[in-house]
């Protein structure tokens, strides 16, 4: 490696994990946490080397859920990959669908009708609310709260999933977005049911916060633990609430302004310290901002078509070229990179998984902490193995 003239004052290796020397005598205890573990959000393994209770080295190991999604997509038509994208981040299937539809629309230059854009925003924000609530619920479960906050989150999640079922036909694997719009139109009764659910959401957010945010156990276990510095977060391509919890103001809804997000007024919550508590608070505040977006979208949704009548369902052959489309999924930046060679199947289909890339700094955040904190830090990263392994 030749001498690199950098213009910054960082010294070499600043973005590598620090090496911690074990104190005292004795060997390191090597523990494999997972893959069969109730707290690892799926089949995930962490090879941890411990000095007593202190973490000296941590290597994440995954690939247990690798289903070869990218290669299947190379052999299937563009539309046939849409149900497979549901299964990437299986908690948030509608945002996965939107990211893929966005990438294909960029590839062919397809425009989307306004009503379809509003429907997409409504469904994406509902997905974000139920995802953040479930993440916080799981985080509290890992702390030992045995499921009470989780069940509160799931109670709201059930209402949202019922809305998804009555619109798309399925609670989780929705397969709803199409290239150029949405599959079926929303009815007036569905919009009324959604308004009813959304009107109950602020009370839920208040109840959730009253239950959790000033809880001393939560604060003692989360504040100051798992600190991620903003510079390292940007350099490690961290995205989503983890990045904003470290104080970096980067929300793709505000930066790229895809869809019709520039019509809604909403704020982007940022954290100060970059610890677990900040990420938790960022998620709670993002839920409240999503409720605001939903109220605005439900008020302003215009009538009109939901699909461009010229877009094709069968025999879809985009011209050769490539495109990268990304959205702010609840877990971070979800992007799809497509290379087309003019045929009915994509030549290269790549999913940029936010969960995998957020895991890059897991080791940095966990070094020096106790092994009990590893579970919490890992829970605050918010991963889904379907996305990490694809």
């Amino acid at each position: 490696m030749s001498a690199v003239e950098t213009k910054s004052e960082r010294e070499e290796g600043w973005n590598r994990p620090p090496v911690i020397e074990p104190g005292g005598e004795g060997e390191l205890l090597e523990v494999a946490m997972g893959p069969h573990h109730p707290s690892t959000h799926g089949v995930f393994r962490m090879d941890v080397a411990l000095d007593g209770e202190r973490v000296i080295r941590l290597k994440p190991v995954f690939g247990y859920l690798h289903r070869n999604h990218e290669k299947i997509a190379e052999g299937a038509a563009y539309l046939a990959s849409m149900p497979y994208t549901d299964r990437l981040d299986y908690f948030c299937s509608l945002t996965n669908n939107w990211a893929y539809a966005l990438a294909v629309e960029k590839l062919v230059g397809q425009e989307v009708p306004e009503r379809a854009e509003y429907i997409r925003v409504i469904l994406a924000e509902l997905t974000r609310i139920q995802n953040h609530a479930s993440t916080i619920g799981f985080l509290l479960q890992e702390m030992g709260a045995s499921g009470t906050p989780l069940m509160y989150a799931f109670r709201e999640r059930e209402k949202i999933l019922d809305l998804f079922e009555s619109l798309t036909g399925s609670r989780m694997m929705c397969n709803y977005m199409r290239f150029g719009g949405c599959r079926v139109d929303v009815s007036v009764s569905w919009l009324d049911a959604t308004r009813k659910v959304v009107s109950g959401l602020p009370a839920f957010a208040d109840e959730f916060e009253a239950l959790l945010s000033s809880n001393e156990i939560l604060m003692a276990r989360c504040q100051g633990i798992g600190v991620l510095k903003p510079e390292l977060a940007v350099n490690a391509s961290v995205s989503g609430p983890m990045l904003r919890g470290s104080g970096v103001n980067y929300d793709i809804r505000k930066v790229d302004r895809y869809g019709v997000y520039d019509r809604f007024k909403f704020r982007v919550p940022l954290g100060d310290h970059g610890d677990i508590y900040d990420r938790y608070m960022v998620r709670v505040l993002e839920m409240r901002e999503s409720i605001r977006i939903l109220e605005q979208a439900l008020k302003d949704i215009p009538p009109g078509p939901i699909m461009d009548p010229k877009s094709k369902i069968r025999g879809f052959r985009p011209k050769p070229g490539e495109a990268y489309g990304r959205i702010e999924a609840p877990k971070g930046e979800l992007g799809f990179y497509l290379i087309s060679d003019g045929g009915p199947n994509p030549y290269r289909y790549r999913v940029r998984p936010p969960s995998l890339i957020n895991l890059t700094v897991l080791e940095d955040m966990c070094l020096g902490h106790n092994v009990a904190d590893v579970v919490l830090i890992f829970g605050s990263v918010d991963i889904v193995l379907g996305e990490v392994d694809r």
Partner: protein, 242 residues
């Protein structure tokens, strides 16, 4: 409305050609080539030769105007060897009998014929980087690096020292495509298990013949299932005739 090509980039100051000029001005010896993207997304890319890739990457990250400090996506692409059939005009010296003044004489004349030649253009493996800027809120810039061929010269410099986010993604490209990244702190397989031998995402990957075939197999899966069943009588895929 999502208009094609508009990425909300009011802060994007430079086109790809301008960025190429800036790189060539700052890093001596950088070989940068613009590859145009024919699709409406207008995301043109810069192909960077790997000898100067680290300096180019450091310049892109640290330059105050460009400030591409966020590596959003790093992916591998496999371009297999292509067989090219082309017609070439070949001029040769040929011994021919021609009519001379005293009858047939042997002479060497020049003759131009059309010859059909087949040649194999070596394929390559490619790494594609999508860069964004958190400081300036612009992007994407697409950088590509290609290996010399797919068999023995598959090394590329690792950009993990510049962007830490490349760490797991370079491991994935090594695992699924076989590109060896020099300078990577921990290059080993990430999605497949450690003893795995082949590179699954390559276009010429042959799947192992050791899984069960479902009853509704058809087309090429059916052909393989029948082949498989004829070798192992009785046990697998028994419900084919259900």
């Amino acid at each position: 409305m999502l208009a094609a090509g508009s990425l909300g980039l009011e802060a994007e100051l430079k086109t790809v050609e301008e960025i190429k000029a800036a790189i060539e001005a700052a890093v001596s010896g950088a070989q940068v080539e613009v590859l145009r993207n024919p699709s409406p997304s207008a995301q043109h890319s810069l192909r960077v030769a790997h000898e100067s890739a680290l300096e180019v990457a450091a310049f892109l990250r640290d330059d105050p105007e460009l400030a591409f400090d966020y590596l959003s996506n790093l992916t591998g692409v496999d371009w297999p060897d292509k067989e090219i059939t082309e017609k070439v005009k070949v001029t040769r010296q040929v011994l021919k009998t021609v009519d001379g003044p005293e009858g047939k004489v042997e002479q060497t004349v020049e003759e131009t014929v059309d010859e059909t030649r087949k040649r194999t253009e070596p394929g390559c493996l490619e790494a594609v980087y999508h860069l964004y800027s958190v400081a300036k809120k612009h992007g994407p810039l697409v950088i590509r690096m290609r290996t010399a061929n797919r068999t023995d010269q598959v090394e590329l410099p690792s950009l993990t020292p510049i962007w830490r986010g490349a760490e797991f993604q370079e491991r994935e490209i090594f695992d699924l495509y076989g590109i060896v990244f020099k300078g990577h702190p921990d290059l080993r397989r990430i999605l497949m298990w450690d003893g795995f031998k082949d590179y699954p995402m390559r276009k010429d990957y042959v799947e192992p013949d050791d899984y069960e075939y479902e009853p509704t197999a058809h087309d090429h899966v059916l052909a393989r299932a029948q082949e498989h069943k004829s070798r192992e009588p009785g046990s697998k895929g028994a419900a084919e005739s259900a």
